[in-house]
């Protein structure tokens, strides 16, 4: 590899581990090690992938899951950011929310699913509510941390140059916390896939979680893998998208 540029070499190195794993997996099964009914080969999964794409089933389940993640994410993240900033700006807000967060953050959010089913029924609303709750906590904690770590000099400058509370909120605290807000949003994105897929196992008839659980009950192991891989790919795409947005929105972050 000596003739390649360091960047190309890094990229190839990056691909070696996943591709190597797939090849090893395929070879072991072809050599008769492992039962192909329970552990399908990568080629079997690829074939099944293709059929599910062609009959539209995969697109349907993916679409349902994405809508739930997106709606829950927005509903949870906006108040998370707002309350986190207000906590950093006003002590009473901080004192009010601190014990709530301390008590509620460690509860596994999936444990709330039965309650949410009671409140919102078996439709999309209960799943969206679950995602929103799960997103809210990492976002609020990160936003608060980011805003309270804004250097003192920026508060001093803003005050000395006549900033009102509103200007403080929208132009100083929000932007000062933005890098940490983005870190929180990225964690929240992963968390929202985790809780949603778990919720879809039991409480619905659509979505990628349902696809995986249903194929487990029918012992269609290859479909299970299709679902799992799809979630992985979605995670990869959304996180790359996030990085792109972050670069656009935070141009002052040193390259």
């Amino acid at each position: 590899m000596s003739g390649l540029s360091p960047k190309t070499r890094d990229r190839m190195l990056y691909l070696i581990s996943p591709i190597g794993l797939l090849i090893l997996w395929q070879l072991l099964l072809m050599a008769g090690i492992g039962d192909r009914r329970f552990i399908p080969a990568p080629t079997d999964i690829a074939v099944r992938f293709w059929t599910l794409i062609r009959n539209g089933e995969l697109a349907m389940h993916t679409g349902v899951t994405l809508v739930r993640v997106f709606a829950g994410f927005v509903i949870g993240a906006i108040p998370g950011v707002a309350v986190g900033l207000l906590m950093a700006m006003f002590k009473p807000v901080r004192i009010f929310f601190d014990p709530l967060i301390a008590a509620l953050f460690p509860i596994p959010k999936i444990a709330l699913m039965p309650l949410l089913l009671l409140a919102f029924g078996f439709g999309d609303a209960s799943k969206i509510a679950l995602v929103a709750i799960a997103v809210f906590f990492p976002v609020i904690v990160n936003t608060y941390t980011g805003a309270s770590n804004i250097e003192k000099i920026y508060w001093d400058v803003a005050k000395n140059y006549g900033a009102s509370q509103w200007v403080m909120f929208t132009r100083i605290v929000f932007f000062g916390a933005l890098p940490m807000i983005f870190a929180g949003l990225r964690i929240a994105l992963a968390v929202s896939f985790i809780v949603l897929v778990a919720a879809e196992f039991v409480a619905t008839k659509s979505g990628l979680g349902y696809l995986i659980w249903n194929s487990w009950e029918l012992l269609q192991v290859d479909i299970m893998f299709v679902g799992i891989v799809t979630i992985g790919v979605l995670g990869l795409i959304t996180s790359a998208l996030f990085q792109e947005i972050e670069r656009k929105v935070i141009p002052w972050k040193a390259e």
């Binding site: 000099i153 920026y154 001093d156 400058v157 803003a158 005050k159 000395n160 140059y161 006549g162 900033a163 009102s164 200007v167 132009r171 100083i172 932007f175 000062g176 933005l178 935070i250 141009p251 002052w252 040193a254």
Partner: protein
């Protein structure tokens, strides 16, 4: 862009500042008396811990005193004071021009007027070409110019400067000191300039206020005998300048030695 008349008058009498900490009371400033005439350039010099920054923060309204009185007469001015900090304090998330216009935007100045005044201020400090840059793309000296433009653009009655050039290299410091004196000679604002450098205080000021630490008191106020316009380079080489610097150093040295002896006891 600047008003013809001179800046604010300051009258400080018997000023005290006490902090209450876990270890008890700390007297940061004790019995400070100081009057500053409109348009005067006053430098406050002293070792670290003498409360000179605290005094400036009280003048700016960022901190409160616990005794005595402080009066700033800025009648007829829209903006009483603008502060330039040691670390530029330009907001990293705003471009240079947005930073410079910040103190106007917060006060509801119309956007076309902001644009015109920012333009003039950027020209004054030589940052016109870098208006769309972000602070991290600028050198330390350029950031400090931006901070000065941000202060001047608000047309304040007094300018408060807290060791604004302390973190710069020697060349940049001389360049910015020269520019500051030039701008001040044009605008004649009241300037209160805090520094730990005797040389800088003598180069820039009309008067030097010498402070001593623990508690922060005024030791002596010196009239700087050099007139305006000033050329800082030739002034620094002047024999009279060297002598005055030495005299002041002796006064401060005595105090520093005394304060250190007390700490070691």
């Amino acid at each position: 862009m600047f008003a013809e008349r001179r800046g604010a008058a300051i009258d400080i009498a018997g000023l005290r500042k006490e902090y209450v900490s876990g270890q008890g009371h700390v007297l940061a400033l004790d019995n400070i008396d100081l009057s500053v005439a409109p348009g005067e350039f006053v430098c406050i010099v002293g070792p670290s811990g003498c409360g000179k920054s605290t005094l400036l923060r009280i003048l700016s309204g960022l901190d409160h005193h616990t005794g005595g009185s402080i009066k700033v007469d800025a009648k007829g001015w829209t903006v009483e004071n603008a502060m330039v900090f040691q670390d530029s304090g330009l907001f990293p998330w705003m471009s240079v021009e947005t930073n410079v216009g910040f103190g106007l935007a917060t006060r509801g100045v119309a956007s076309d007027e902001i644009a015109a005044r920012v333009e003039a201020a950027l020209k004054l400090v030589g940052l016109t070409k870098f208006r769309r840059h972000y602070p991290h793309q600028l050198s330390g000296g350029m950031r400090q110019r931006g901070a000065i433009a941000r202060a001047f653009v608000t047309n304040p009655a007094m300018l408060l400067m807290d060791e604004p050039f302390a973190s710069l290299d020697a060349q940049n410091r001389v360049i910015l000191q020269t520019e500051l004196v030039r701008i001040w000679e044009e605008t004649r604002k009241t300037v209160v300039y805090v520094t730990h450098s005797i040389e800088e205080a003598l180069l820039l000021g009309d008067r030097c206020v010498l402070m001593t630490a623990q508690p922060g008191r005024i030791k002596q106020i010196i009239d700087v005998p050099f007139g305006h316009p000033r050329n800082l380079i030739t002034l620094a080489a002047d024999a009279a300048f060297g002598k005055l610097k030495l005299d002041i150093w002796r006064v401060l040295e005595e105090e520093v030695t005394r304060a250190r002896a007390e700490i070691e006891l």
